[in-house]
């Protein structure tokens, strides 16, 4: 397998492992095991653990946009917002995708603590790129976009806490999304 293909599979594996364990709670050993490769080989493909995390984070955000983009293709305004809401709700099935998002957000403060300010800049760049693409798609209004992301962040939180879909804590979402 070519180095480029390996890097791709490392990113996929890393996204899953980091999503579940967080940056410090995930060993490169665990990632390597999931890829099916020896642990030191990761360091031939990436300069270090940080770089693997960064690649997984970027992949996560791009993947999220891909889901939004597909769901709302050809739509705009409120229709696009509804389509993307429904798409995000279905992402609840994909815990890893959502948890990787949260891990990215919290990792910024840990990195700042360690003096790595550029982690924060990267994370904000990713956030804004997603935010603005969504905002444009639903009509450009800042408040609409903010509301959209607010519910998104609550969904992330409830998935993190492990609430099953039928739990009463999900019952307050029926105003923003009534699929059928």
């Amino acid at each position: 397998m070519s180095a480029e293909e390996r890097r791709e599979s490392v990113v996929r594996a890393a996204l899953i492992e980091f999503a579940r364990g967080g940056y410090h709670g995930t060993s490169t050993e665990a990632i390597a095991r999931r890829v099916g490769v020896s642990q030191p080989y990761l360091f031939r493909l990436f300069p270090g653990k940080q770089a693997i995390f960064a690649a997984a984070a970027e992949r996560c955000v791009e993947e999220t946009w891909r889901v939004f983009d597909e769901a709302s293709a050809g739509l705009s305004g409120e229709e696009a917002a509804d389509a993307m809401s429904a798409a995000y709700m279905s992402l609840v099935e994909d815990r890893d995708q959502l948890m990787m998002q949260m891990q990215l957000y919290v990792s910024v403060s840990a990195a700042r603590e360690a003096g790595e300010e550029d982690v924060g800049e990267t994370a904000r760049r990713l956030w804004e790129s997603l935010f603005d693409r969504v905002r444009i798609r639903i009509g450009g209004d800042m408040r609409d976009a903010t509301r959209f992301f607010a519910y998104g962040m609550l969904i992330n939180t409830m998935v993190a806490l492990g609430y099953p879909p039928e739990h009463r804590m999900w019952s307050g979402f029926d105003e923003c999304e009534e699929p059928e």
Copy 2:
């Protein structure tokens, strides 16, 4: 200083350190240093690192409720909601309080990975206790409470990402809170 008083100061120090570094990114050494005590002594006051984290998490949630409770004392319905929104907005100044919340949420998935399912149960208990107290205070409606917490989670995220208060990313919040 009595053991009980020491435990209290450990909880306060732990909240700050865990908020900034996350569970795995924070050493008991760092907590002890902040308390001004030797690292092994922590293990006389608490059975282990997990217990310190749990105590800090519980403290964090109770403190958040205290802020809400004070801000909305004697109010109800929309007035209470507005007062608590404003109070939460002012909590943005207290990064540690907000970040500890997020660390609690993401720690659940890491704990589940490690087979400690009771961490999730504890976290959900804390979440629901806060959620329901707020919900009652603002009138009891599930959708209102969900909206309230949705914006709260977005605020947490933006604080985590390190956006200063005057940044354009905060401009979408003016529908839910117009202080003066």
